[in-house]
């Protein structure tokens, strides 16, 4: 039976610009991009196409030299227009000029009943070849799952608790049987449980509640309750030497479609959110799509930051940038590059704070939504401990000591303090509340890389 977990720690950032429930069909974007930088732990991506090549949805674009089996494929059909490289010829992006109508590379179609009888090796090779494998994330470290490893369990977070997060019942409406097929496939890869973790405060969509062959758990609490790392910690924590896979429901559905329809279907619904968006709502588009058409005529001001993802973990992409591989949300904020006279002491009701320190009055009005911007509200300072990290980390982990162990390059200490159980998103709120304005997620990723390569 599913578990019920109540989390008392955490903080919901009330950001203006929640999406309304409409879904708008966006026409095909001009360009679509696949970015190796969306994935953690790639050793050296090797490009498999040339500028000018035509590709179909599902054609491999590049692979990692360390795991050549895992293909990173094109989400659309069209022409490869640009291979963008950075310093030391590091591969940053492969851009494709998208056709109006997507042609799909054909993969083997499988009936629902065959999903449980087909050899695992065949399922695996089709997933690897088509590009859906990259949806599977391995913990510890948050890297792409190693195809040769059997995970202890697979966890699917069925809700997003981050600021202005999209509603999963809208994102995945009507995809029930694809989701079920995806779960059926995933079951073949583990002897453990498939956990589907839902939130207690919303009605669970049938997609998750009716699913067979998985354990449906309920969580109650504020962000980061939706982070799969936090969920794993409370359901079946990761110990040294154990491997757990996580996957977003979108990935499960993509796997289902791959086998039932025989195509690599990269269409997705994204929420356009944030205080700078005129009409925050949902749009149907495609993985890696340029956000140009999405934003056209929809911004309140020009001086803004476009983020693929949410405000805690997202990546700045620019007004003509492309959606991140795992993102279901685009957030637009005002740039906060202004000076504020005596900004460190004047009382205010317009700034959001987790703290109730002098003059920060946001705690008096907990349901108010704030028009937050990118200003840091203060400068980087020495670390002064105040116990606040622990208040937003609903895990039996001491974040401050873990971060200090990372800064000291102390691998044994990192391991003992639980670095295997967290990735950036799980501790993102620590970075938000930090009085001394440190880059917590960056520090944590350094530590994870140190552990992974040591």
């Amino acid at each position: 039976m599913g578990k019920f977990v109540r989390l008392s720690k955490g903080f919901d950032i009330k950001l203006k610009g929640k999406p309304s429930a409409q879904v708008f069909d966006l026409e095909m974007p001009d360009t679509v991009s696949v970015k190796p930088t969306d994935f953690q732990g790639l050793y050296m991506p090797k490009v498999l196409v040339n500028q000018g090549d035509t590709v179909q949805a599902g054609t491999p674009l590049f692979h990692d030299k360390q795991f050549t089996d895992i293909s990173f494929t094109s989400p659309v059909s069209g022409e490869v227009v640009e291979v963008v490289r950075g310093e030391k010829r590091k591969l940053l992006e492969i851009r494709i000029l998208a056709d109006r109508k997507t042609e799909h590379k054909a993969f083997r179609k499988v009936s629902v009943s065959d999903l449980s009888t087909l050899p695992v090796s065949e399922l695996r090779s089709q997933m690897l070849e088509s590009g859906v494998w990259t949806q599977l994330i391995q913990r510890p470290f948050g890297i792409i799952a190693d195809p040769n490893v059997k995970p202890k369990a697979i966890h699917i977070s069925a809700f997003d608790s981050s600021p202005c997060a999209p509603d999963y019942s809208i994102l995945f409406k009507g995809q029930d049987h694809f989701f079920q097929a995806g779960v059926d496939v995933l079951k073949r890869f583990t002897e453990g449980t498939i956990h589907i973790n839902t939130i207690s405060t919303l009605e669970i969509s049938t997609l998750f509640s009716q699913v067979k062959g998985a354990q449906v758990n309920k969580f109650h609490g504020k962000h980061p309750a939706g982070c799969v790392g936090v969920q794993i910690h409370h359901l079946d924590a990761i110990n040294k030497g154990e491997i757990v896979w996580t996957i977003n429901p979108a990935g499960v559905i993509q796997i289902g479609k791959l086998f039932l329809n025989g195509v690599y279907d990269a269409t997705k619904i994204v929420a356009l959110t944030g205080p700078e968006v005129k009409n925050p709502q949902y749009y149907r588009t495609v993985q890696g799509a340029s956000v140009k058409k999405l934003l056209a005529g929809n911004l309140n001001s020009d001086h803004c930051r476009v983020i693929s993802g949410n405000v805690l973990t997202g990546t700045q992409i620019g007004k003509e940038g492309h959606l991140g591989y795992f993102d279901h949300q685009v957030t637009v904020l005002t740039e906060g590059d202004y000076y504020e006279f005596l900004g460190w002491i004047l009382p205010t009701v317009n700034k959001l704070s987790f703290s109730r320190a002098f003059g920060l009055l946001s705690f008096l009005n907990p349901s108010k939504e704030y028009k937050l911007d990118t200003n840091t509200h203060g400068e980087e300072r020495s670390f002064v401990q105040s116990g606040v990290f622990e208040k937003v980390t609903p895990m039996d982990i001491y974040p401050v000591h873990l971060l200090k162990a990372i800064m000291a390059n102390d691998v044994d200490e990192m391991e003992a303090l639980g670095i295997y159980e967290v990735i950036e998103e799980d501790l993102a709120l620590c970075e938000f509340v930090d009085v001394s304005k440190h880059n917590v997620q960056e520090i944590l990723r350094d530590g994870l890389e140190m552990m992974r390569t040591s």
């Binding site: 006279f341 950036e424 938000f432």
Partner: protein, 397 residues
């Protein structure tokens, strides 16, 4: 505002990399960020929005919590002065007299301390940290009212240089800086900070008949009969009931500038706890530790001080002030939640132990906190080890 901003922008290039005053950048930065919250924005990867709190606001909240103690202390200096002289003074006179002592103390403490901070910031090329804003206010509050200012200056310099900068600056110090200053005076100039120095008398004045400047702690330590009776009789003839429980709680008695009033410390504690800036766990557990130890000594008995009712320990000396403002220093206290309970409780226990059993040091809270500052990392070590063991145990099950 615009004018100020323009002036700052006009000179800013001199302090930036390549400018002729480059090495004074952090001094400039301290002034600039004092006037204007900076225009820096978050990075392109990671959190894009930040909490509105910063270190300056955090520190200002602590200072705000100290204001009740400061105001009461200012009045009390004047009040004790007139009591000792057997005169009556108006409220205004008392405040004026108090300000005459307190303001120079504050100026010296901030002047010396911030001066050293700036010098180190420039030398070491790190920002001027706001931590001293709090320390600079704590130091005057734990000084006797008539302390020579040069001693305050020397003690402050010692505390900041040896207590903090030698360890790497704000956030790195092992022991509380304000208490380091106090301890320095205690051991370097014992004659000025012990005995009958707790009341401002002035040059060549004649005290009222029967006057004694002994503090409650001194009275309790010197008691040969019953401490309660001694308290009740103290002040007869010139200040009836000065050491009654009520009066001790209100703090209308001789002592360091800001430490006398338990009530005002509790107001400060309320501010710290409500704002979430100070650790309620530490404050509560210091009181609990002192009370528990007091009770234990009552049970054992043996001398009058040991038999003094335990709750008197909470209102005499500087226990309340130390518990609220010193023990909660986030840098030198324990860093783990469980550790805070243990740390606070032990401070309370040691305070009473030192008070009762160490005749050389009438006040125990200072030494108890300094001692526990040193042990705080050890407590955290055990708490963290318990966490690590839970993880290991889970792995082997």
């Amino acid at each position: 505002m615009k004018f100020l901003r323009n002036q700052l922008d006009k000179v800013k290039h001199n302090f930036e990399k390549g400018g002729k005053l480059e090495k004074y950048y952090y001094a400039y930065e301290a002034f600039e960020t004092f006037l204007f919250a900076p225009n820096t924005t978050t990075h392109g990867k990671g959190v894009h929005v930040r909490d509105a709190i910063d270190l300056k606001r955090l520190m200002m909240t602590v200072i705000l919590a100290m204001v009740p103690c400061l105001l009461f202390g200012t009045w009390n200096i004047g009040h004790q002065h007139f009591l000792a002289l057997g005169q009556t003074g108006t409220f205004g006179e008392k405040i004026l007299l108090g300000l005459g002592q307190v303001v120079p103390l504050i100026i010296v403490s901030y002047g010396v301390g911030l001066g050293i901070e700036f010098v180190f910031a420039i030398m070491r090329k790190h920002p001027v940290n706001e931590g001293y804003l709090v320390t600079g206010m704590l130091i005057p509050l734990v000084m006797p009212p008539d302390i020579p200012l040069w001693q305050v200056a020397v003690a402050t310099a010692f505390a900041v240089v040896i207590g903090k900068e030698a360890f790497g600056g704000t956030g790195m110090n092992v022991v509380n800086i304000a208490l380091t200053a106090r301890a320095f005076l205690y051991f370097a100039y014992p004659s000025q900070i012990s005995g009958e120095v707790w009341t401002l008398l002035g040059e060549g004045v004649k005290t009222v008949q029967g006057y004694s400047g002994a503090t409650p702690l001194a009275v309790a330590a010197a008691s040969t009969g019953n401490v309660m009776n001694d308290f009740a009789q103290f002040g007869s003839g010139w200040a009836e009931g000065i050491y009654s429980l009520n009066n001790l709680f209100l703090g209308i008695r001789p002592g360091s500038v800001g430490e006398t009033s338990t009530l005002m410390c509790l107001v400060g504690a309320a501010i710290l706890i409500i704002t979430g800036v100070g650790s309620g766990r530490i404050i509560v557990s210091v009181f609990a530790g002192a009370y528990a130890m007091g009770l234990l000594l009552n049970v054992i008995g043996g001398n009058p001080f040991m038999e003094m009712p335990a709750h008197y320990h909470l209102v005499i000396g500087g226990l309340a002030f130390g518990a609220v403002f010193m023990a909660t220093d986030p840098v030198t206290a324990t860093h783990t939640g469980t550790g805070k309970w243990i740390y606070g409780f032990l401070i309370g226990v040691f305070t009473v132990l030192i008070r009762v059993f160490n005749p050389a040091y009438p006040e125990g809270i200072m030494l108890a906190i300094l001692l526990m500052n040193v042990f705080a990392p050890l407590i955290d070590y055990f708490v963290l080890n318990a966490n690590k063991n839970r993880r290991l145990k889970r792995a082997t099950v």
